[in-house]
């Protein structure tokens, strides 16, 4: 048979490509449920890491089922808010946002042709007094996302975990692999009133006399990963600005209940250390 004639070549390649595509589509469909389950468990372990339930390595030693159990056990409440900080609906059971859902919400926050509706932003409040919110954006080579935890009712960060699809190993990938970068967020205070909620700065964040980082909204960038650092900065700013109204309202109501001497839910545990002079002003 002459395998070099044009008709044969075209038919042959078409058949091969269609067969391969069909096989891959079938395999992808049949494995999807398992992959989604793995992704969900991974998302939960990232959220638990940022809420300081252990290091990522420790949490990864748990199996998928154990991760889900831990989440079910530790979650206080989870709900979805709109841009005005109002609760739209509750998230029942083990309902977390996959990176794909975060991508969709990212478009909704930013607007533009890919917008599908009003942003629905998830908030997760854990029993240890941490509020966890996600962020999503573009790194150098692909999407980056992550979770930042705050002390309930404050703008003080207590932890962070970031993940990425394809940042450069050893440089941009440090947002995920380098626990010391994630630790830098601990104790820093987000500036919710501003467009620059958090600044990732080159050349070092301000330090006090003892060499400790000042509790401001500045975080050291990663050396050699300028583009990823900038992408992360933009992602955090976009998302936290979308959450700003919720956090500001929460802070105000906690301050109020503190001044009135009431124990309030979803506020910092030691509600008594509210600043006295702020109460007197009101």
């Amino acid at each position: 048979m002459n395998t070099n004639n044009n008709v044969y070549t075209v038919i042959y390649t078409t058949v091969i490509v269609v067969l391969v595509a069909a096989l891959l589509a079938f395999v992808s469909q049949s494995l999807k449920a398992k992959q989604d389950a793995n992704e969900k468990a991974e998302t939960i372990s990232q959220m638990l890491t940022s809420a300081q339930y252990g290091t990522k390595a420790e949490l990864d030693k748990l199996g998928n089922a154990a991760k889900l159990d831990k989440y079910a056990q530790e979650i206080d409440k989870a709900f979805v808010i709109n841009l005005d900080g109002q609760v739209v609906r509750e998230l029942e059971g083990i309902d977390v946002y996959s990176p794909k859902q975060l991508k969709r919400e990212n478009y909704n926050i930013k607007g533009g042709p890919n917008k599908t509706g009003e942003p629905e932003l998830p908030v997760f409040i854990f029993k240890n007094g941490r509020t966890v919110v996600p962020i999503y954006g573009a790194g150098l080579w692909g999407p980056i996302w992550g979770y930042i935890s705050f002390e309930n009712g404050t703008a003080t960060m207590t932890g962070a975990y970031f993940d990425h699809e394809s940042e450069t190993a050893g440089l941009g990938a440090k947002i995920k692999d380098d626990p010391s970068f994630q630790k830098e967020f601990v104790g820093e205070v987000a500036d919710f009133g501003q467009a620059n909620v958090i600044e990732i700065v080159k050349g070092g964040a301000p330090k006090d006399a003892e060499g400790k980082s000042v509790a401001d909204n500045k975080i050291d960038a990663i050396t050699g990963a300028t583009m990823t650092s900038q992408g992360l900065d933009a992602a955090i700013d976009t998302w936290l600005a979308a959450y700003a109204k919720y956090f500001l309202a929460q802070e105000k109501s906690c301050q109020k209940s503190c001044c009135e001497g009431k124990e309030a839910h979803d506020c910092k545990e030691e509600a008594h250390d509210c600043e006295q002079h702020k109460c007197e002003e009101e």
Binding site: T9, L24, S28, K34, Q35, N38, A41, N64, G170
Partner: protein
């Protein structure tokens, strides 16, 4: 087993090793050898992709139109790579490793060993020897990967398969070993050892 088949299997492991002699697949051997577990999964993935792609293309070899043979090879190899990636993503045990290897599983398709063996061997030989050739070349690649990863994990993290080994004796992990350049140094050492054993590889 006849001598020729034996040669097909044994040659890629040592005498004609794809990494140290043909110098193919260097990129991924620098990238995925930080941990033994990662190297092992990568090695197995390459063995599967290389073996089965060679088998399929050897079965098809008389029907493939000459002008589009590279494209047909590419389609088959890409299919195998995606299948391997999908399977790794589906199991709880391998999901974390797949995440750690990230793009490098997908990049098996650009591993010159796979296409190189198909072009050089599978298209001109019967299915069974082609399959063995693919598996053996994958194994030759995997062997070097595992040797490099053994030293890098042992000296760079003080562990093997994540279990503390040197760490128990107060060893301080060497960060240089974790970085890709050290893999290149190690590869150089392996080539050195091999060429001093196998004198005919030495260039005059």
């Amino acid at each position: 087993m006849d001598a020729k088949l034996k040669e097909t299997i044994l040659n890629p492991i040592f005498k004609g090793n794809p990494i140290t002699v043909l110098v193919l697949g260097i990129c991924s051997s620098l990238a995925v050898t930080v941990t033994l577990k990662g190297a092992l999964v990568m090695a197995l993935s390459v063995i599967v992709v290389c073996g089965i792609s060679s088998l399929i293309l050897s079965l098809l070899r008389n029907t493939i139109p000459g002008r589009v043979r590279i494209i047909v090879q590419l389609v088959v190899v890409a299919m195998m790579v995606i299948l391997v990636d999908q399977v790794l993503k589906s199991f709880e045990a391998t999901y974390a490793i797949d995440k750690q290897l990230s793009v490098y599983i997908g990049l098996i398709i650009t591993n010159c060993i796979v296409m190189g063996r198909i072009e050089a061997f599978a298209l001109g030989n019967k299915p069974w020897p082609s399959f063995l050739d693919g598996v053996a070349n994958g194994a030759g690649y995997g062997l070097i990967l595992i040797i490099v990863a053994f030293f890098r994990e042992l000296l760079g993290s003080g562990t093997l398969f994540g279990i503390d080994i040197l760490n128990r004796f107060g060893y301080v992990p060497n960060n240089l070993v974790i970085l890709p350049p050290f893999a290149l140094i190690l590869l150089g050492c392996i080539v050195w050892v091999q060429r001093s054993i196998q004198k005919d590889l030495q260039e005059k």
